[in-house]
């Protein structure tokens, strides 16, 4: 039948069920009408043609039926989108500039927000993480050379542990490198020396085995292994070294010169704040001799009891610290600081992030300003087009809607580009800052739900800021003048654009100035005289355990081997690398001079170095002699001082040959 062929020729874009139904309805009508006409005597062909003529334009009819059922808003919206896409494609220059500007503005904000999200919004990976607190000590008076917050001394810790009611678990931790056997021979892995309750403080339980909290268990393992005792492995190390073998509990690993027994494995992803270590070893603190484990160099973590808060803990610990400072002479001048874990992790970064967020926010504003003026100009250029539309009957809201859709498309596309740019920027920032800054959750900085949501919100915001306003403006179409004249620039338009330009310039100047200042500080910082030559200097870190003689012999043996390597001019050891932020520090006094009234007024940083250090670092000696072989442990103790020391403590007499007493070691001669 001719009718069937007609059905097959249906244009493909009409696909909805209702549409097919309407088509079928009309087709039925055609056939019935043709039947009627045939009954009246027309030929088959004639009846068909006549029926079609009676029915009229079926395509139009079907569109009318379609229009009955679809919501006009959606139709118009789709129409606007198509039109906007076409008009954007026709102005590739404008579209490109707009997209780039948006990508930059949104991208910068997204990049910074990944950090903000990781630092402040992302939940910490521990159960009830807001109940975990970090305690630090705070010198009550400003002491020279001592920072505003310090790690915790075990003496204070044992008192806190006894007396604190706010915490259900308090623990100490310290990083220690561990020498163990790797696949290629001995290797050094990062380890953490932790007191009994550390895992309880974080609310984490081992995946396999047990943790250090059961005293009897620890002792049993110590006796059994005969070595350095039980250890707990991190998930990552367990995977690498034992291939994820569930029967790892009870196996031994090499530890230093002996071995240790694995008693547990931790769940994946666990780390202590920023410390991601491979092996955990237990710390036994003897309450009668807390100094045996070390001095003021421990991380202290605690878990609040259910009904305690950080504030209440702070008050209680303040009182306890005051008591302890009266009881323990070493703790005399120290108070306590209680921070939530998150506060601790973001300490020092908060203001930076805030400033950065402000800066990129301003950048986005400038971008919006640019886009607004671009669109405004474009809108003025379209006055004739808009005038025609208005004349044809488009209401003002209709025109605004269409222009707004254009802005929406621009900002959505720009937002997508900005998301990519932001991700790239974020990755770059992470790489750049990883070496310089120990950021709380750097490993977690990346695109996540929050960042995506933030970007989407930004897209909407930018649409509103730069889209609606020019749209509203451009739609103020004066019908007559717009159609007659081509591109008339109204007076009010000029004033708006001037305001925009002024605002943008002001913001840009602010940003440029701040950026310039920052750059200058950075350049100056990198030009500071170090006092030594860092070029071509390589550093290695290792921990050697044992008595003094063993350590000395091993160090010299290593030094000799290193010095024998081709390409090595000189080698040495030093206790703490310069500019690393860690030094040994303590008061001293000259022998033969009256004691100063304030015992702590003469303090100095001390570093233990091996001979050849100054040669290796390219430092020159002003007077006297360098360390030599005769200054090994059996000879008289000697020391070298720097110019600042001489200026401060011995300006009028020759320091060479004087003897000083120091707290850090036995008496030394100054050289």
């Amino acid at each position: 039948m001719a009718g069937r062929r007609w059905l097959q020729r249906l244009p493909r874009r009409i696909r909805s069920d209702r549409d097919a139904e309407a088509a079928r309805e009309l087709q039925d009508h055609l056939e019935l009408e043709a039947e009627d006409l045939r009954a009246r005597g027309l030929s088959r062909e004639d009846s068909e043609y006549a029926a079609r003529r009676v029915l009229g334009n079926t395509t139009l009819t079907r569109e009318e039926i379609h229009a009955v059922w679809t919501s006009t808003f959606l139709e118009r919206f789709v129409q606007d989108i198509r039109f906007a896409l076409r008009s954007l494609a026709k102005n590739p220059g404008f579209t490109l500039v707009a997209l780039l500007t948006l990508a930059l503005g949104i991208g910068a904000n997204t990049a910074i927000f990944t950090f903000v999200s990781a630092a402040f919004l992302k939940p910490l990976p521990y159960p009830e993480a807001d109940r975990i607190a970090v305690l630090r000590q705070r010198p009550l008076r400003a002491l020279p050379g001592v920072p505003a917050v310090t790690p915790v001394h075990p003496r204070s810790f044992v008192h806190w542990q006894e007396r604190a009611q706010s915490f259900e678990a308090l623990a100490l931790a310290q990083t220690v490198p561990m020498t163990t056997e790797g696949p290629d021979g001995p290797e050094q892995v990062p380890g953490l020396w932790v007191s009994q309750d550390l895992f309880r403080a974080f609310g984490v339980h081992p995946l396999y085995g047990e943790d250090f909290s059961s005293d009897s268990g620890l002792r049993r393992e110590e006796v059994r292994s005969g070595g350095t005792g039980p250890v707990i492995l991190s998930h990552g190390y367990w995977q690498r070294r034992f291939g994820g073998d569930p029967a790892v509990v009870g196996k031994s690993i090499a530890a230093g010169r002996s071995s240790a027994v694995v008693i547990g494995v931790l769940p994946a992803g666990f780390r202590v704040g920023t410390l991601d270590v491979d092996v955990y070893t237990p710390m036994r603190i003897d309450r009668s001799r807390p100094d045996a484990v070390g001095s003021r160099s421990f991380l202290c973590v605690g878990r609040l009891r259910p009904r305690a808060t950080i504030e209440s803990a702070r008050a209680e610990m303040g009182t306890i610290a005051a008591q302890v400072s009266k009881e323990e002479p070493t703790e005399k001048d120290f108070g306590v600081q209680v921070l939530s874990l998150r506060e601790y992790l973001t300490d020092g970064h908060r203001s930076n992030l805030l400033i950065l967020s402000g800066v990129v926010g301003l950048v986005l504003l400038i971008a919006c300003g640019n886009l607004a003026s671009l669109l405004l100009t474009k809108g003025i250029g379209r006055q004739s087009e808009l005038g025609v539309r208005a004349a044809l009957g488009a209401s003002r809201s209709r025109i605004v809607q269409q222009l707004a859709v254009e802005s929406l498309i621009l900002s959505t596309a720009g937002g997508a580009l900005g998301l990519c740019a932001g991700w790239i920027g974020s990755r770059a920032l992470v790489t750049l800052s990883e070496s310089a800054v120990e950021f709380g959750q750097m490993a977690d900085v990346g695109l996540d739900v929050r960042v995506l949501g933030f970007t989407v919100a930004l897209v909407f915001l930018t649409t509103v800021i730069f889209g609606l306003f020019p749209a509203w403006y451009a739609s103020k179409v004066d019908l007559q003048s717009s159609i007659k004249l081509h591109g008339s620039a109204g007076g009010s338009h000029v004033r708006t654009r001037s305001i925009l330009v002024v605002a943008k310039v002001a913001l840009a100047v602010v940003l440029l100035l701040s950026g310039g200042l920052l750059l200058r500080s950075f350049t100056k910082l990198s030009q500071v005289k170090l006092g030594f030559q860092p070029e071509n200097v390589l550093t290695m870190r290792t921990l050697i355990m044992g008595d003094a003689e063993f350590r000395a012999n091993l160090s010299y043996a290593i030094l000799e081997r290193v010095q024998a390597l081709p390409g090595v001019r000189s080698a040495d050891t030093i206790q703490f690398l310069p500019l690393g932020g860690v030094t040994n520090n303590g008061p001293f006094q000259f022998v033969g001079r009256p004691l100063p009234a304030d015992r702590t007024s003469m303090e100095s940083d001390v570093s233990t170095v091996s001979q050849g250090y100054f040669a290796a670092m390219g430092m020159d000696l002003l007077r006297g002699r360098d360390f030599g072989r005769q200054d090994r442990s059996d000879g008289p103790r000697v020391a070298l001082v720097n110019q600042a020391f001489v200026k401060k403590y011995s300006p009028d007499e020759d320091p060479i040959g004087r003897v000083i007493l120091g707290d850090w070691a036995n008496p030394m001669t100054r050289f």
Binding site: E25, D28, H29, V54, L60, T61, E64, I65, V68
Partner: protein
């Protein structure tokens, strides 16, 4: 509009009137689109030429407003399915509303055209 081929004697129906006629036609029972067109033409002896092209949009509009309900079914004497429209209770109410409106308007027009002797 280029799609129409009006014959000289045929009256063109306003959209509102077409709606009313459709509703009335369906008062006596469900019919499908062609049936409705044939009925109106037949009852008026072809005087009222229903624009077939506007019949179907009208039917769909009435269906969307809830005055008609539609169902694909086969007539008693056949096995081929057609889309049958029937009047809903809401449609009945609308019909009586339209009816009274139409009566009012025709009375008003008649008064202008043929003023009654009383006045």
């Amino acid at each position: 509009m280029g799609r129409k081929q009006p014959a000289s004697d045929r009256l063109e129906l306003l959209q509102g009137t077409l709606d009313m006629l459709i509703l009335q036609t369906l008062k006596s029972g469900p019919r499908h689109g062609h049936d409705i067109a044939r009925y109106i033409q037949g009852t008026t002896d072809d005087l009222l030429q229903v624009e077939h092209g506007s019949l179907y949009p009208a039917l769909h509009r009435l269906e969307r407003k809830g005055w008609l309900a539609a169902k694909w079914e086969a007539p008693r004497d056949g096995n081929r399915e057609f889309k049958y429209y029937r009047l809903t209770p809401a449609g009945r109410k609308q019909l009586s509303r339209e009816e009274s409106k139409w009566k009012q308007m025709s009375r008003a027009i008649a008064q202008v055209m043929w003023p009654a002797e009383e006045h």
